[in-house]
Symmetry: C2
Subunit: 902 residues, 2 copies
Amino acid sequence: HNQNFYTDTVFKSAIATLRLSLLHVWFKSAYFQRLKALTPEENTRSQHGLFFQDGQRRVDYVLTYSVKKSSGSHSTRQSVHLLTENVVTRSFRHGPQSGGEKLRAKQTQRTKDSSSEDQKAFRREEFEGKLRDMGLELEKDEDGKIPGVYFVKIHAPWNVLCREAEFMKLKMPTKKVYEVKQSNSIVEKISTLISKILEPLHPHVEEHQPKNVKHLSHTFSREKQHLKQFTSSFVSVQIVVNKGKTIYTTVSICVIKMIFYLFPRVFRKYFGEKIGLYFAWLGLYTQMLIPASLVGVIVFLYGCATVDDNIPSMEICHPRNNITMCPLCDRVCSYWKLSTACGTARASHLFDNPATVFFSIFMALWAAMFMEHWKRRQMRLNYEWDLTGFEDEEDHPRAEYEFKVMQKSLRKRQKSQDKVNTLYAIEKLTFQDRLPAYMTNIVMMLLMIGVTFAIVFGVILYRISTKAALHMSSSLITRNHVQLTVKTTAAIINLVVILILDEVYGAVARWLTVLEAPKTDKSFEERLIFKTFILKFVNAFAPIIYIAFFRGRLVGRPGSYLYVFDSYRMEECAHGGCLMELCIQLSITMLGKQLIQNNLFEIGIPKLKKLIRYIRSKQGAFQEEERQKKLTRYETDHFLEPFGGLTPEYMEMIIQFGFVTLFVASFPLAPLFALLNNIIEIRLDAKKFVTELRRPVAARAKDIGIWYNILRGVAKVAVIINAFVISFTSDFIPRMVYQYMYSPDGSMHGFVNHTLSSFNVSHFQDGKEPMDPSHFGYPVVICRYKDYREPPWSNTPYELSKEFWAVLAVRLAFVIVFQNVVMLMNDIVDWLIPDIPKDISLQIHKEKILLVELFMKEEQGKSYIIDSSTSTDGKENCSKHNNNSKVAPPRSRRHTNSTKSF
Amino acid sequence: HNQNFYTDTVFKSAIATLRLSLLHVWFKSAYFQRLKALTPEENTRSQHGLFFQDGQRRVDYVLTYSVKKSSGSHSTRQSVHLLTENVVTRSFRHGPQSGGEKLRAKQTQRTKDSSSEDQKAFRREEFEGKLRDMGLELEKDEDGKIPGVYFVKIHAPWNVLCREAEFMKLKMPTKKVYEVKQSNSIVEKISTLISKILEPLHPHVEEHQPKNVKHLSHTFSREKQHLKQFTSSFVSVQIVVNKGKTIYTTVSICVIKMIFYLFPRVFRKYFGEKIGLYFAWLGLYTQMLIPASLVGVIVFLYGCATVDDNIPSMEICHPRNNITMCPLCDRVCSYWKLSTACGTARASHLFDNPATVFFSIFMALWAAMFMEHWKRRQMRLNYEWDLTGFEDEEDHPRAEYEFKVMQKSLRKRQKSQDKVNTLYAIEKLTFQDRLPAYMTNIVMMLLMIGVTFAIVFGVILYRISTKAALHMSSSLITRNHVQLTVKTTAAIINLVVILILDEVYGAVARWLTVLEAPKTDKSFEERLIFKTFILKFVNAFAPIIYIAFFRGRLVGRPGSYLYVFDSYRMEECAHGGCLMELCIQLSITMLGKQLIQNNLFEIGIPKLKKLIRYIRSKQGAFQEEERQKKLTRYETDHFLEPFGGLTPEYMEMIIQFGFVTLFVASFPLAPLFALLNNIIEIRLDAKKFVTELRRPVAARAKDIGIWYNILRGVAKVAVIINAFVISFTSDFIPRMVYQYMYSPDGSMHGFVNHTLSSFNVSHFQDGKEPMDPSHFGYPVVICRYKDYREPPWSNTPYELSKEFWAVLAVRLAFVIVFQNVVMLMNDIVDWLIPDIPKDISLQIHKEKILLVELFMKEEQGKSYIIDSSTSTDGKENCSKHNNNSKVAPPRSRRHTNSTKSF
């Protein structure tokens, strides 16, 4: 039967989207698990509730509301939203938690519960009346199995669907089919080969329709039904009803915010284009991570392979180079030999070698390529999903906004109560009205960012003071493990703080956005995302930025160190640059964040919530067994967690994208870790969407919205940050400068000596010199420290030397060159890769021609009828029309004729 | 009568577009001049030819073709294109000059003229047949007054227009009118005030329609004519016929490339949206230049006002600072006193002061603002011109491209002649086929750029050698005017070379693009523009870039100067930096280019061509007087210059935009010059379009296409170039460094001394020392030169000093900070200014709601009819439809009914 045919083809196209990601096996199996898990009996049972009482009219949408019992033992349920094959429930949001209602609740605080219930019931009826006026058919579920919760089932008849489809300018596949030419380019061949290799990994979906055939799409029009011959099964499923919102917001504010959709069947059809786009984006991102992690691993291996050929670390490790270094802390620390830093020096070479420079350029280009590919993929999906020409649905003012406006006009009216007849039109909120909210926003954002910085500073203090304390410890073992202990605990503290603040910041951002009262849902979402992004981004990257650019740079020099609170010396980096520590911090933050947030928060918490909700409902008086059997599909899905939007999913991935691109110069393995995480993530997300959450309201979307801009922003910042990491954090530039400007034989020999300045120990400030001056058995006269400064015997001792300025100039020049070259290359990539894939643009072109031909044929058929039915000459008829151009076809007659046919 | 009413309202809206520019007085008067110049008789005469012989059907388009006389005395006319009220002529391009025809011509070289004429006549007839098949009506002009030129008049009947309007998804104003709310923002009030002040400058256009009322627009649909009640006058004029191209390219390649349009009446309507957008863009650009030139003048005046407080120039001018400078050339030049450079030093302060730093940041932001404003303006125009939702018309392959493809398949067929039955489908050109063309393109582009650089180098050589020669001259007067003579002549040579190369490069770019054979007209245009832009940009800016960044930097130092061809020393800048010379070069190039190219080329040459064409036609046997009288409108317009596209107009403005933004740090008056030029330019362009050129084919366009990207590119490059000009060309950074790092008292005193290094004259190379060592009456031991180098008495004499590296580091740091701050500010501007003006988005929103309401009313009216006419219950009827969803309205009956009405 026709429905079955439809399901398969649409499922195929949904899978085709996912196939791009190579990673959807899990998703598919989760989906089928769910389908198969239903035994025939269960299947019948789950079918229960899919139709109206007459067994004919399908339930397209379910509204839920709860009535508070006078006993008040049960808390009000809100936002009930069921996941079934074809039935979705959206509750009347009655709870005091809902924004608009909360405000209204304050006003009507004094009225009793019962009268408030009456009021609600009245509003509900008013709303349901509006729905009926629109042509929808409603049926109330009088004998619900869940106490206090009632359901209103809605059915949208055929003609309502057609009308809405026409309003929405929905594109429909027509019965006209044409052949899609397979392109023969090399790229295509390679991708075919790859997909053949990976075939065993893909789910087996039978293809009822040949792959290279496509239906012509055209904007739906009732008048043209005879012409277009739309495949009717598509129409019945794909049409989306979207009017409730319009009527609702203009009629009554606080009862419910409602959009209702008639849900199509699978995946994209099942979840809507918006969630489909998320999975497509995640798929492409993961796919793009494969080459990035490959190159990253090669770069890392190159570091490993060349570690023994690295002259600077060889020089450090060579026991003959007995360079005496200045002490690392005041008094308790003593002089130390450079050769003890051998291990760190060798390790830093893994991350600080010429290949990392190449890699960070590669990753900048990779990010640009990713953007471009996404644009193309989006274009392709838009075309395949018939979204071309779809304009964003107009956004209606939010209830909270309208309520504020109402309050404002109320206040105005009260002020001028004497003029009773003055009518105040509903105004908008001006800048003055919003000023307090804006100010709160700015202040709170700055405060939150300040808190982040304060915590970073706190961790620094912790590190400095603990290190000093442990150094003074009498136990030798403690003193030997100072570095390890301090670094590990500090990194863990950082991680924990980041995780906690992430949750706090999410809540703060939401609160601030509610305070701001943006006009539309779209702007609400965008503002919320923007704030959350800023806060979470700063939170995740502040400690890393500190390590990359500030640590070891604010140290001062022997004899005039920089002190915090007059007693703690600022920390230095281990010899070999801070790149090593940056790398450690990065990997701990990235891995920890991903493991804990993904697995614990994303999976654990929904399960827990489901359990709690289940246990709560169990407290009711019903027999569990009996109840379960009698429950309709929507009643069972009532216990699932409601869908909270895609923001957390995207946010997580964007922060990960930050880790992958921002500091990639110091951590070439980041793409690999991200890849591994995402392979799990994509499966977990799919499983969660299918089994743990109520079915989300399907939303149409052409693009990923503000996320694309944020991605672009991160990619832009990545270029400059990588430039600075390479030139300032790593030793790449000093090495180059030494090799080409100072080295006597053009080799790296002598580099270590060149980077160390000398210090005459007699110049130590009083009380700061080491307690054990002859640690090595002989009195130390000159100790060395890492800096470019004049020697003690020059005219200007300890001033910055010429080498310092030369190295600084080269570093800055490198930043300029790197940034501009990479930006230029990005622009070239942007320019070379067309935004619309060639085959798609060819198909669009072909479709247009075919449509015109179709119309022309229709036209000729018509004019033939004219010629035969009217006895006048066709040409004369035409010219007559032209000269008297106002003669329109006789309206009234045609009108009644065409309407009669309904 | 209705047409008149229409003309006025549309003209008003066209003028409203121009009003934005404040500058259209000339345009308006030119247009009216043309209208008024026609005396009543003339008017009747010019009306002659506007209708078919029956005097009823209007001529909508005119095709022209020429038949070669066997005598061969007259050359074939081609591309005839007339400018009349409503009649436009496009020739059958028969001439051998037309690209495709040329190729075909080569093949058919051997066939005789007469047979080729026959072939052409056959193709013509074939084509005309196709036009008739489409429903168009044709009439041939058998008794043309111009020998050898024939006209085919085309009339598009009403039903054809309707059909095409539907295919194009043309938006039409409906009769439904709604009120546009005037916004009360401060910006709006200011702009109202300004427009009131400037009222006398505007042309007086009577406003038949209240300003704050707008017609609802909706996509045209024949079926909905009864519903939408389109104002029919709009329909009859606005519809565009666009099918000829489709049919043409698939039928015959080389006879004609044709688009034919039914032309609307005035300005945007008269010239089409594409040209309308150009004038709107030019208007906005000129408008935006007003604040820029204001600030520029203020910055310049600040320089003038502070010239006497400038310590460095005071120090140079002070007679007591008798600093002896090293000679400026070998042997013949002698030592000189720094105080003689007083004039240049004072002059350079005009362009080299802190205000210029501010000004270049301002101009970078200005460019970003301009971009944003243009986006908004474009959006507004799209809305006002009902272009929202308009998708670019599909581009058909160019004739030249299809010809190449045909050649290729012909070659393949010849290769495998044995298999007679094999049919080769028309293939596309692969990369291999295009490789030779691509290679030629790259090589030629590099060669051309190389030529530009060679010429710049040649001018340098000219300057160096002339200077040396003049210095050796015995005449004192000559020697005194060396600088002036050399600079002036060199700048003029540069200008002349730029002007000549501009023309050459234009031709080369066209030739290269033809060679490349892009597939579509659009890509042809884009590639041509891109190449032309690259070449002209390099050409215009190469000498300026040399002066800004290389001149005076490749000099070497006393004792080891850098020599070109072993004999000429590289030129130095005058004391006070190269900024002064950069400024001179800039102003000469900019003014010269604008004056000569604008006035001479743009106005003079079309006039000349018109004259030539007129004289040529006079050679015919006709009596001039008599002929003039009898000529129809399109025959008179036959003598005008054909419209060659907007590329030269845009190109000129983009190069000017480059002058305004790229080196604005050195020349704050550039915006003022540009403004003055544009005020003339906008008038000249308008006059040219109305009176000198045949009426262009109106083209719909949503945006200015590739030009926007080029503008963005120039604005991006401007940021980095300005950063370099400020930090490297000007003395801003050295002054800052001196003041904050080296100055003993924090003032600028001693700066001049600090920038000069010392040279021991005994270190001159043999034969290079001045001939007159005791020029000042005493032997010079130490002379000074401008550089940061170690003194002769240091350990490393003449090496770059620490100051050099410090200044270099600060310079580079400034570049990084400047670039990133400006880019960040640009992004913020981009982000803060919404792309869609608020009032427009509100109006779009309002229109949508109104449309939905309109439909809903219609719907309810319908269902009322159903309820009353059918006795069954409405609801049951609906649900029946739903369950049996395939029941479509009875087709045949409705079909015949609706078609009968035609």
